[in-house]
Amino acid sequence: MTLGGFILKNALRNKRRALLSVLSVAVSLFLFITLQVALRELTQPPEDLGSSLRIIVRNRVSLVSPLPARQLQVIEKIPGIVAVTPFTFFGGLYKGDERFTSFAQFAVDPVRVKDVIIDAKVDDTEYASWVADRTLCIVGLDTARRYNLKRGDRMQFTGTFFPCDLDLRVAGFYHGTADDRTVFFHQRYLDEALGNPGTVGCWWARAASPEDAALVTARIDQAFANSSAEVRAETERAFQLGFISMWANIKVLIGSICTVVVFTLLLVTVSTMSMAIRERFRELAVLKALGFRRRELLGFILAESFGLSMLGAVLGAGGAWLLYRNLDIQKLANGVFLAFEVTPRMMGMAFAIAALLGIFSAIGPAFSVARTSVVEGLRTLD
């Protein structure tokens, strides 16, 4: 037998209790990691150059109020603007979807959009055929894969927001953006289906440089001030952050849940560990009599509680890491999360919490063992 073997036998002497304390650490750290990942994914959209160049122009009244199509000529001429396209959210239901379709459909100007969404990569022939036929659409590669779509396939959408349906065919696919799920089709198709109302949902424009963007948004706002359709222009990044600020309360909520989880875990582990040691007080006194020193007993206790909580961390945090790596979160969360990534920092935090738990729960018992003399310890009844 080695000292390590002795520690192991002690840790496993009450197998059910050892299992329960490992599991409580594991489950709590799994929850902790899940919450941390959710928090990060909700508050940190993928940052790319495009999102600080792109400018979203919407109706000042609300996101759903349309804008007059004639604004195009004005925006186009504003200095610092490179390109601009209508960008109308259709929000239809695809195929069997009854209440919600997880990918968006936007009506755009197929020629102009190429200079606005510059990160999208499309095959030249596919692009050319899309531009030539207003009943065709370009589909994000993720959506194409998910529904196993091929060129020429039909895509039908039932309108929910607009009083018309779409009947499109796939011209080709794009990829390379932060979110390769959207379906793009012709604004003119939508105009015709609606009887040419002369409106669009929003404008998407591209500024020449990120430095220009702030100035350009101010110019756009100004251009339509005091008109019948005042607008609000902001960079895509600012637009995303605006949504995220709605999540601020959620952030506080998740933060407090995490704190409570960790604190409860601390209480549970500390009391389990002190129970485990109190039961063994007499044996520890015997070990002292046999010549084991305080620091060796402290080592035993620490190794035991540290070992149990670290095992919990390996199961809980490691399990979360493995699970979220192999999980198709887009499908599972209906597209709310594009990714669900466990970062090294979160793993580090989980293991640090486990280490602290191990140390904290050893302190109390170790202290009382050190303070108790052999004679006192021997006198305690089993």
């Binding site: 000292l3 036998k9 002497r13 009599a289 010549g291 084991f292 305080r294 052999v374 021997l378």
Partner: protein, 237 residues
């Protein structure tokens, strides 16, 4: 004159192992001091089998604990083999106990999750002996108490008498000069008690160990080479 053992008289003067002078142990109880031991002086020779008797609360365990280095006196000195035990600090004392004292308790005090072999091996883990030397010593100790065939049994798979013999093997595995036993037969039936007492006697007679045993049982006391009676913290002749 024939009542006095010549052997123990001689050894007392030749190889003394425990010197106790004016030893007192006081416990404070509110405003008054209770003397568990009061000015005890005593010499024990190497190889003696000392039996401590006396009524409950007379200070037998306290005396045993001080000699064995798990308790400290309030006054006086206790030297074991030229070591003033009271002067050692905690960790020196632990080390000293490991090398010099073997403990046998009334309630055996084996570690329940360890086999007989592992229980006996426990004190050797502090010695730096390699695994094969440890195995050799543990086997020898278990054979000595007649349990060579029970190495892999857990304490709960052994009878009380066998458990106590494992405890004795654990006490002698480091080959300490001093073995202390506090009512070792208190929880045993007559047959097992005899086995244990014979082993202790052999340890003193054949292996030259100094054995100090506390007991209430006059039959057990008869195994010793010298009986000491304690009353109210003092040795009475």
């Amino acid at each position: 004159m024939r009542r006095i053992s010549t052997a123990s008289l001689m050894s007392l003067h030749i190889v003394p192992i425990v010197f106790i002078r004016d030893l007192s142990k006081l416990y404070r109880q509110g405003d008054i001091n209770i003397a568990a031991l009061h000015d005890v002086s005593l010499d024990i020779a190497s190889g003696e089998f000392i039996v401590l008797m006396g009524p409950s609360g007379s200070g037998k365990s306290t005396l045993l604990h001080i000699i064995a280095g798990i308790d400290r006196p309030t006054h006086g000195s206790c030297r074991v083999q030229d070591t003033d035990v009271a002067r050692l600090n905690e960790s020196q004392l632990a080390d000293w106990r490991n090398r010099n004292v073997g403990f046998v308790f009334q309630s055996f005090n084996l570690i329940p999750v360890l086999t007989a072999f592992e229980n006996v091996e426990l004190p050797l883990l502090l010695t730096g002996l390699n695994a094969s030397r440890r195995r050799q010593q543990v086997t020898t100790a278990l054979n000595l108490v007649g349990l060579g065939d029970r190495q892999d049994h857990l304490p709960r798979q052994l009878s009380g008498g066998q458990e106590q013999r494992v405890a004795i093997a654990r006490a002698l595995v480091t080959d300490p000069p001093l073995i202390v036993a506090d009512e070792p037969t208190g929880n045993l039936d007559a047959k097992s008690a005899t086995d244990v007492l014979e082993i202790l006697r052999n340890l003193s007679q054949q292996a030259g160990k100094t054995v100090i045993m506390v007991t209430h049982d006059p039959k057990a006391a008869a195994y010793g080479t010298r009986q000491l009676h304690l009353e109210k913290g003092e040795i009475v002749v």
